[in-house]
């Protein structure tokens, strides 16, 4: 009695990502003999293919930890959280959180934040298109309308907050510049990532800038965003933050409320 296709595939699939699993009983070489070496080709294809996908999205993490460490960490990730979609552009979203819980990387507390910058960069690269507004497009807004002004932000816009100088570390590991020691106690860095055209822009946000953008992205008014940003950081500079946002190409529309 032949087994159903579903049974055949269940046994085959179960052995793909688990190197300890037994080779499926119905898999044979041309003489009908069991063939672990041949089944290993599929195991290897699956693992190497997914590790390469992760590797492609996280070049700075790979450069920081080295090829061998990265491969071991990526294999652990692939086995723990294999993809659920054939669109592999979306695979790797959980890698930063996985790194947070990956014991052997514990001596690099900033590593997960580097992965967050890389993932958001990757998402921004593939995000939807929209036309950014320039300063001239916003010049006609009356001063009295400013408090109730809300912005539509670019669909590629992302903010990554870090308690470490992660942006400095990321830049050093994505350029040809020499790698120099970084003082991890130098304070945190927040990054704005946005792709208004063909190029992904990554900028360090000024004090309170991350809160300001997050409130605006949630549909908050300019006055709400300014108030919350000033509460979060006394050094917040409203006009510099608005100018920076527009200059980055992050604003694609606005409306005046109430």
């Amino acid at each position: 009695m032949l087994r159903s296709l579903s049974e055949v595939q269940a046994e085959f699939a179960a052995a793909l990502l688990d190197p300890a699993a037994v080779v499926p009983s119905d898999v044979a070489d041309p003489e009908g003999k069991p063939t672990p070496r041949r089944f290993a080709v599929y195991r290897n294809n699956v693992t190497v293919g997914l590790v390469n996908t992760v590797s492609g999205a996280f070049p700075a993490v790979k450069r920081i930890v080295g090829d061998d460490f990265f491969t071991a960490m990526a294999i652990a990730y692939v086995r723990a959280e294999p993809p659920n979609s054939p669109v592999l552009l979306e695979y790797g979203k959980g890698f930063a959180d996985f790194i947070d819980g990956f014991g052997p990387a514990g001596s690099l507390p900033y590593l997960a934040d580097i992965a967050r910058i890389e993932w958001e960069w990757h998402e921004a690269y593939h995000a939807a298109e929209a036309m950014s507004l320039g300063p001239d497009d916003l010049a006609g807004i009356a001063e009295g309308d400013l408090p109730t002004l809300t912005f539509s932000l670019h669909p590629s816009l992302r903010v990554v907050r870090s308690a470490y100088p992660s942006l400095t570390i990321w830049r050093m590991n994505t350029s040809d510049d020499p790698v120099v020691p970084v003082d991890l106690g130098a304070g945190g860095e927040d990054a704005l990532i946005v792709r208004p055209g063909a190029m992904v822009n990554v900028r360090q946000l000024p004090a309170g800038g991350a809160t300001f953008i997050e409130i605006l992205a949630d549909g908050g008014t300019l006055s709400e965003a300014a108030e919350r940003a000033a509460e979060s950081d006394k050094g917040f500079d409203l006009s510099a933050s608005i100018a920076g946002l527009i200059d980055a190409g992050a604003v694609v529309g606005y409306s005046i409320g109430h």
Binding site: L2, D26, V27, P30, Y42, P83, Y125, E129, M131
Partner: protein, 299 residues
């Protein structure tokens, strides 16, 4: 890149000619757009263009303006026992509508089980159960996407004890039941023939060439089985082997001139190296066109 709304550009259908084409790699985007080399068509993996926007769409739009396109899916899992992923079918339909490719193809393989996507073209047993499932899935693809698809013969490393028919009878029956065409991957024939120990020329001679709409060529990696016998891996990481060129010439003699894709997906070389492989395939196709002309003259 010029500043313009790439989403607003629309294409008319453009068929793929019986010439050599090449798998489009991001490493070559810039050079292709700048130099517009003489290439019959480009083929892309559909899943690489399933982001909402970004440079891949900008480049593909620019390239599609100058070349015919073939859309090749690698993730639909047509051979899975489970139902097709409706969301993924919708994405394939949208890409077909956006880029109007001259050819659209997928694989005789499965890659998803219990919601996990394994990212490999996994093999099927050849029997009535699998045949019925594959035929139903192809019917669903062709109805949803609204066009005929080509189904590609796989590279395989193992056989299933559950198989009750040959790969060729399986492909013939699928084409007859669904009306789909076939994509004949000549490298896959050579790889599978070595691994499963059959004669690749007999396979080509028995293949239902009347359904073939495209041919694939690629390089394989030689390895060894448990007992030391050759085991070839479909790696797409090097030049096409001499044995595969010979099998290709034999194939073209049966099919006549046919759109032929050169695939090179890892250790991707500089553009001139790929372009030279392409030229070799075009040479075989040109020789075949000459023979067709002579035959017509003789009649």
């Amino acid at each position: 890149m010029p500043h313009r709304d790439v989403n607003a550009i629309s294409f008319g259908p453009r068929s793929v000619p019986p010439r050599a084409g090449v798998g489009l790699k991001h490493e070559h985007y810039r050079e292709i757009i700048d130099t517009l080399p003489d290439v019959g068509f480009f083929e892309v993996h559909a899943e690489n263009y399933m982001g909402a926007g970004g440079p891949p769409h900008r480049y593909l739009t620019a390239i599609r303006e100058s070349y015919p396109l073939s859309l090749h899916g690698v993730g639909l899992s047509i051979g899975a026992a489970r139902p097709l992923d409706k969301e993924h079918l919708r994405r394939l339909k949208a890409l077909n509508e956006r880029y109007q490719p001259g050819l659209f193809s997928e694989h005789l393989a499965w890659s998803t089980h219990d919601s996990i996507f394994y990212n490999d073209l996994l093999p099927l047993p050849y029997n009535e159960d699998a045949l019925a499932r594959v035929a139903d899935h192809i019917d669903e693809v062709q109805e949803t996407v609204g066009r005929r698809m080509l189904l590609e013969n796989p590279s395989t490393y193992i056989a299933f004890l559950e198989s009750t028919m040959s790969e060729i009878d399986f492909l013939k029956d699928v084409a007859r039941r669904t009306g789909c065409g076939l994509l004949l991957d000549v490298n896959n024939v050579h790889v599978s023939a070595t691994n499963r120990r059959f004669d690749p020329f007999d396979y080509i001679d028995a293949f239902p060439v009347e359904h073939v709409g495209e041919i694939h060529l690629a390089g394989y990696e030689p390895e060894h089985d448990d007992d030391g016998s050759p085991l070839l891996i479909d790696a797409h990481n090097r030049p096409i082997d001499a044995a595969v060129w010979a099998l290709y010439e034999h194939t073209i003699a049966r099919t006549g001139p046919m759109p032929t894709l050169v695939e090179w997906d890892s250790n991707v070389p500089e553009w001139p190296v790929l372009f030279a492989e392409l030229g070799r395939a075009d040479h075989v196709l040109a020789a075949s066109r000459q023979e067709v002309k002579h035959a017509a003259f003789a009649e």
